[in-house]
Subunit: 429 residues, 2 copies
């Protein structure tokens, strides 16, 4: 496939007009400013279009689309205990499969090519992801409220099973991450044992960190003043490539630890605002050269996977919270949404329009009133584009979505089955 005469955002997040981008198999093999002689097959007319890297959703719980708009206007504990947890006890393979398929449909519609997930029924989720043609770093969050050894925990057994059966599935589209749910849902022994196992198998780590002030302060009380970041680090959890989700309340030495250990911080700006958890200090993270990525968190607390909206809120909420309209530039925001997320997922050949990289690409229709005038398309992309301006989504060189048409997903069936599964659960409650 050849994108012809198209505006691109290049690997340095610089706009270039009238470019030619060639795809062979799963790879980008040509980026040039003139028509190649070589035949790339299908030619895509780039007039009025913008081509860029797809988005990498750095923190998600995909199957929770089933709970979209189900529980609103509740305080966090009430929301979790009266609504979310009871709903989740009724989940089954079928519901999780269709919830995940719905999330994949919404993801590719909004330009997300890959998601870092933490949930359960991981094999059902992976099945949906593979059928949809998306990429995913799947994690089964380990929790432990007992004295049991890691190896005896059901959550660990599921994670191990998932890793052994699905890691690198779909020609590497699927990566299975190790995952600790959080400090407050585990204990030091579990953290240490999981850290050791993760290092041994060389997997990525994915963990919730300092989402709420309560959680952050309670950790310090329980652990001799250690913050979640310091506590988890002291137990060796950050010895592999890791994603720390949220990091709203990190402080002091936390920044130093995150930097030294090369941790990716997945900021979830919309969920954090909506649940009144706070605003991640993205300006300070960037100043400390910490890799920042953007996550949607679950649809139950967002309530969409509209990634362009997420990028805008990522930038503007930081500006207000930290009192600086110059903080978090459009270029920094796009970097976080693309290569920042890919790094967190351990995908070193993704997230940039670069020859040799995987062809995980999106096309936006920029011939629309909200994108005019085009003084600067990078500014317009971050602040003016609508999520639905994405008109083509491609992963590993395969078109998944184009102009409202899903190439891999039966969208009507998916919406019907997801709705039916959600209704079925409600009937049991």
């Amino acid at each position: 496939m050849l994108f012809k005469n198209i505006t691109i955002i290049d690997e340095n997040i610089v706009q270039k007009n009238n470019m030619y981008v060639g795809i062979e198999g799963a790879e980008i093999t040509l980026i040039d400013n003139k028509m190649p002689e070589k035949d790339f097959g299908t030619v895509y007319d780039g007039k009025g279009k913008l081509l860029m890297s797809g988005f990498y959703n750095a923190h998600a719980h995909s199957a929770m689309t089933l709970m979209r708009g189900y529980a609103e206007n509740l305080a966090l504990q009430e929301w979790l205990e009266k609504k979310i947890f009871p709903f989740e006890t009724k989940l089954d393979s079928n519901a999780v499969y269709w919830g995940t398929m719905l999330a994949m449909a919404e993801s590719i519609r909004f330009g997300i090519v890959s998601s870092t997930d933490m949930y359960y029924f991981c094999d059902d989720m992976i099945q949906a992801v593979l059928e949809a043609g998306c990429k995913n770093n799947m994690g089964r969050g380990v929790t432990n409220f007992t004295d049991a050894d890691l190896k005896d925990l059901d959550s660990f057994k599921e994670m191990k099973y998932t890793f052994e059966n699905y890691n690198q599935a779909g020609s590497g589209k699927i990566k299975v991450d190790m995952s600790l749910h959080a400090e407050y849902t585990s204990n030091p022994k579990t953290v240490m044992q999981l850290a050791e196992y993760t290092k041994e198998i060389g997997a990525n780590m994915h963990v919730h960190v300092s989402e709420t002030k309560f959680e952050h302060e309670a950790c310090k009380e329980r652990n001799k003043g250690l913050t979640p970041v310091a506590y988890l680090n002291s137990l060796g959890l950050f010895e592999t490539n890791a994603t720390a989700a949220h990091c709203v309340w990190i402080e002091g030495e936390d920044f130093q630890i995150l930097k030294e250990k090369g941790i990716t911080v997945a900021s979830n700006p919309i969920s954090n605002l909506k649940l009144a958890s706070g605003v991640c200090n993205v300006p300070k993270l960037l100043k400390n050269n910490i890799n920042v990525a953007i996550g949607t968190d679950s649809v139950a607390s967002n309530n969409s996977l509209n990634f362009i909206e997420e990028i805008k809120v990522f930038a503007i909420s930081s500006k207000e919270k930290y009192g600086d309209p110059t903080a978090v530039t459009p270029v920094e925001a796009i970097r976080a949404a693309t290569v920042g997320g890919a790094i967190g997922q351990g995908r070193t050949d993704c997230g940039k329009l670069k020859v040799g990289n995987k062809a995980d690409l999106i096309v936006l229709d920029i011939n629309q009133p909200q994108m005019k005038p085009a003084h600067n398309l990078i500014n317009n992309l971050v602040y003016s584009a609508s999520g639905s301006d994405v008109v083509l989504t491609m992963a590993d060189g395969k078109v998944l979505y184009e102009n409202g048409e899903y190439k891999t997903i039966d969208i009507e069936k998916t919406m019907y089955e997801a709705e039916k599964a959600a209704e079925g659960i409600l009937k049991q409650l």
Copy 2:
């Protein structure tokens, strides 16, 4: 026109399924749960669609679309003085006309039927609004840095001319508001004289209030501790129906004054976040039964007119800032976006799906992954919908936009001319 078998959000912001809504001329004349015998002409199949009131944008500077993405990552004063003001000195009739037409195209694409504007070249703006078929409350913000009487000010003369020539134009689609730019760009004599004139002619008032902390505190220093709200009120500015835009830093007695005077507060959440001005205390305004509406502010500081995005940010930014995830419910947010704005505009027969009201309506496509499952469509509308889910926009019973097609605007010409006008100005700078 008859909307057949459609889901609606009714005048009490309650979802009703399988409804029939009939339009005759500019009015809604039927809302029923069964097919009427009467022939309403064109029948619109409501399957998979949601019908509701259009949006009322309570604070805008429409022609500033020309500056979209033109100046980013600057502190407020630098942004204004080095970028916005120099650009504005080069504006002319043609540029303002096309900038406004572009804003109208974007507005109706995102479901806005009416905007409260403050700018200049008001007659050019009104021409574009009328051609587009939109509604507008146009104001020419009065400023005065001299000792001159109100009647001798150019800004006042322009406003008076606009009022006398255009108020109630387009069968009432156009209302001309009186407008004071702000406390810090005028003086007590001007405020008093304008207040008197406004009361005399019975027009609406539109004024910027307490947008930034600096402005708010400087007003108190200048005026014996009086806040902008208290100062303007003491000079009689709030004796007619009025919109106070921003109100980010209001405090103490301000809430009481706004309530007693029946002032509409136009919150501009995205612009306020992006410029790091702060977050309006919407929860407290609502608690005090003050009418709250939602504005986009200008595209130069937003940078779009995506109103569904604005509604979402309106709700979630308040939740975080004021530490309460239960604050600003979806119903309250929809009320602010519709009837709240209409009240501010002095349009008592607008903003609600109600027999006898003006047919200012929008239709959303809800048969999309981001709107499923539909546990609660009002929650989904506020938190999950994409701005582009609007598939039909109607003002005074006339369809302005349907499925990507503009009925009143030559969209290609508008985008071309707006871009050309912006480029022309850049060349002069």
